[in-house]
């Protein structure tokens, strides 16, 4: 690691040129979209919207043309996704496929797997969830117990995943499971693309404290998979998973989750802020500008084929602190108490994001795990 990894990286003009088009599309597509649903940001699920985006070529756009993508640069994708998030567009349906599963299938998948999944991902029609955590394996991911055993040319999976966002609405789950008997920790793990309509799979949504159902528990009971469900190399699951992490941790979704609340806050404050309001809104803006530059810097490192896992962890941890502070400030800058039902937009968005905020430093790696990774990167043991 090196602090000097954070070089300033300008979005190239050809990628920047997309922005106007995306904004125009969103102005039309979200014309009547309620403010409270914009607060859902990348947790908002809308299949029709995902298909419309797919039709515009904005899902899986970094994938090759022959699989339905547009060979777009990571910066072009960045422009599209940050505009979607800033507008609070419902992108959750295709989000994980676009960010993680698609690139992973391209990278590790067979030709048949690519043909089966990538074109449908790019059309905004095929949705994925990520099966990592288990009831006794949260931060300690390497302790997972879900197992796949070989039977002839089949795999049979038994176990349980939990906190699986969108499992109840996805077509496939890419799951990390143990394939070697009695293997220790990071060894003997493999990844499978599991068709969630198969017999033996039970999915139960878990209500979060806002009352929404984003995540699930997934039970796998003697689920029979074809040999072609394995993705990548048997036993290489851990390194495949960690290769995704820089993509998972550095994107704009790691600091734009609460932007809807900044918007309603500015509306509530009005055009002439008092001294405290001006100071705190400006401070949020300054941090947002800097986080975005850090995230773009990681994007350019990823584009250059580097592995900026350390820098990505910095973005995610700073981003989560930032996102979590927005409701804290919003509730003290204007005299508008949060309302779970009724009330003005600001009050409702405040209520929703105040209750969502604890998850920002849990999902995608907890604060403690990230700080541990950062410290090890600095040479502390």
């Amino acid at each position: 690691m090196s602090i000097d990894q954070f070089k300033y990286s300008r979005i190239p003009p050809e990628a920047e040129a997309l922005r106007g088009e995306v904004r125009q599309f969103l102005a039309d597509a979200l014309k009547d979209y309620p403010v409270i649903r914009r607060a859902d940001s990348w947790m908002g699920f809308d299949e029709e919207f995902s298909r419309r985006l797919g039709a515009r070529g904005w899902v899986g756009m970094a994938l090759p043309k022959r699989y339905g993508g547009s060979d777009a640069s990571p910066f072009a994708r960045y422009v599209v996704i940050e505009e979607l998030l800033a507008a609070g567009a419902p992108v959750s349906a295709h989000w994980f496929a676009d960010r993680q599963s698609g690139p992973q299938i391209l990278h590790f998948g067979t030709d048949a797997q690519r043909d089966r999944h990538l074109p449908a991902i790019c059309r905004g029609e095929q949705y994925f969830c990520i099966g990592m955590s288990e009831p006794n394996s949260g931060s300690d991911l390497a302790s997972i117990k879900t197992r796949a055993r070989r039977e002839g040319d089949k795999w049979v999976v038994n176990g349980q995943k939990v906190w699986t966002t969108n499992a109840h609405r996805s077509h496939y789950m890419i799951a990390l499971v143990r394939t070697a008997e009695n293997s220790k920790r990071q060894e003997g793990l493999s990844q499978f693309i599991i068709d969630l309509s198969l017999p033996g799979i039970t999915i139960r949504p878990i209500k979060d404290l806002t009352g929404s159902e984003h995540f699930n528990e997934v039970f796998l009971d003697e689920v029979v998979l074809g040999a072609d469900a394995l993705i990548g190399t048997e036993g290489e699951g851990w390194s495949q998973v960690t290769a995704e992490l820089a993509f998972e941790r550095s994107g704009p979704e790691r600091f734009l989750s609460s932007i809807a609340l900044i918007h309603t806050l500015i509306d509530a404050v009005g055009r002439s802020p008092d001294a405290l309001q001006a100071k705190e809104i400006g401070r949020l803006a300054a941090r947002l500008v800097t986080l975005r530059n850090m995230s773009l810097s990681v994007t350019s490192q990823l584009a250059a084929g580097e592995n900026p896992a350390w820098a990505a962890s910095c973005v995610k941890d700073l981003g989560a602190v930032f996102e979590q502070e927005i409701p804290e400030l919003a509730q003290l800058l204007v005299e508008i108490p949060p309302t779970a039902e009724g009330g003005r937009d600001h009050a409702r968005v405040l209520a929703y994001l105040t209750q969502m905020a604890p998850s920002f430093s849990l999902r995608g790696g907890t604060r403690e795990i990230l700080r541990g990774i950062i410290a090890r990167g600095l040479g502390l043991r």
Binding site: P273, G282, T290, N293, C314, L318, G372, I374, L380
Partner: protein, 352 residues
């Protein structure tokens, strides 16, 4: 150019700006020998166009140089000289030999060709022959003033014993006066000063991060290096995150500044750097324990600078309030587009 500048200056500082030199400057003051060596390097004129006698370097190429000044705690106004000469170039004026400084605080007025008023908090003011100011009023004018012509002087030092002096002028004939070109805001010296300090803070944070990692790996308590304790690791992780944020902020500010400095990028950089300075210094001292609180350990050379630099050329409150007012004025719909465009209008009434 960037890599050449960075490596040249780093080598120069490794040779010339030792911890002892920084410490000595705090008690003995101006180090003429060191300044002569710097002047020979030509970096004071780097940002001036070639046809005016400079190196024609862009701010993007000079961000690393200013950051290194902060990292080494250079006890001389090289950043200030760089900025002042750049502004002379922008105004089409001849560059000045020797160290230069400027006043971003106080208030100067120009009447009948003579300058009166206060030039406040001038870095190294007592040590430079000439200081730059911008007069207030409808036609802001760049002036160079002979420091010896001041009617009164108030000598102050910041927490790192760096001179921050205030001068009162009474109808003094400026050495030079030139109207600010269109597009150059009246508070350009404050803005430029904030840009310099944001990079110096970033460099200083890099220094204390290195020192803190080294110390945590060497200091043994309870039978193991303290850096193996999670509580220590997490404090250092936070220090590194804020160091990274301040480096990124400064890099963006320099990269987006050319003939006009990027107000949004500079303000963002100074806000993040000022915040990072406090958090970073606090974490570094926590890890260093009692020895870091003594003159025997070099940590204070950097943390005492951080505690002053964060307040100079506009505090976190100054710049965040300016950003906040402008963004509220634009309304929620323009919030995101403004940040992405990276362009903020100069507020009406911005003045020295």
């Amino acid at each position: 150019m960037r890599e050449i500048f960075d490596s040249t200056v780093e080598r120069l500082f490794v040779d010339l700006v030792s911890t002892d030199k920084v410490l000595t400057a705090e008690t003995l003051g101006w180090n003429a020998e060191l300044w002569a060596a710097l002047e020979e390097s030509g970096f004071g004129l780097a940002a001036v166009p070639e046809e005016q006698g400079g190196a024609g370097a862009t701010w993007a190429e000079l961000g690393g140089v200013v950051r290194l000044c902060g990292r080494f705690g250079l006890p001389l106004p090289l950043p200030e000289t760089l900025l002042a000469n750049w502004l002379l170039g922008v105004c089409g004026q001849e560059i000045q030999a020797g160290p230069l400084s400027f006043a971003a605080g106080g208030q100067l007025t120009l009447a009948d060709g003579k300058v009166s008023g206060l030039a406040a908090d001038v870095p190294w003011g007592r040590d430079v022959p000439v200081l730059m100011g911008i007069t207030a009023g409808d036609a802001p004018t760049l002036v160079l003033l002979p420091v010896e012509a001041a009617a009164t002087r108030t000598l102050c030092s910041n927490t790192a014993a760096e001179p921050r002096d205030t001068f009162c002028f009474e109808a003094v004939q400026p050495l030079l006066s030139a109207p600010l070109p269109t597009g150059i805001p009246a508070d350009v010296l404050l803005l430029g000063g904030a840009m310099l300090r944001s990079a110096q803070i970033a460099g200083a944070l890099q220094r204390i991060l290195e020192m803190t990692i080294t110390y945590a790996n060497e200091r043994v308590q309870f039978g193991k290096p303290i850096g193996s304790f999670q509580a220590i690791q997490h404090q250092i992780a936070v220090l590194s995150e804020h160091t990274a944020a301040s480096v990124m902020g400064a890099e963006a500010a320099f990269a987006q500044s050319a003939v006009s400095l990027s107000r949004l990028a500079v303000a963002s950089a100074k806000v993040c750097a000022s915040e990072a300075a406090g958090i970073g210094a606090s974490a570094a001292h926590a890890v260093h324990g009692a020895i870091g609180f003594t003159h025997e350990h070099a940590l204070h050379l950097t943390t005492r600078r951080l505690w002053s630099w964060r307040s100079e050329f506009g505090t976190l409150t100054h710049w965040s309030s300016e950003l906040g007012r402008a963004l509220c004025q634009g309304g929620a719909a323009l919030f995101w587009p403004t940040l992405v465009a990276g362009h903020l209008e100069t507020p009406a009434g911005a003045s020295v």
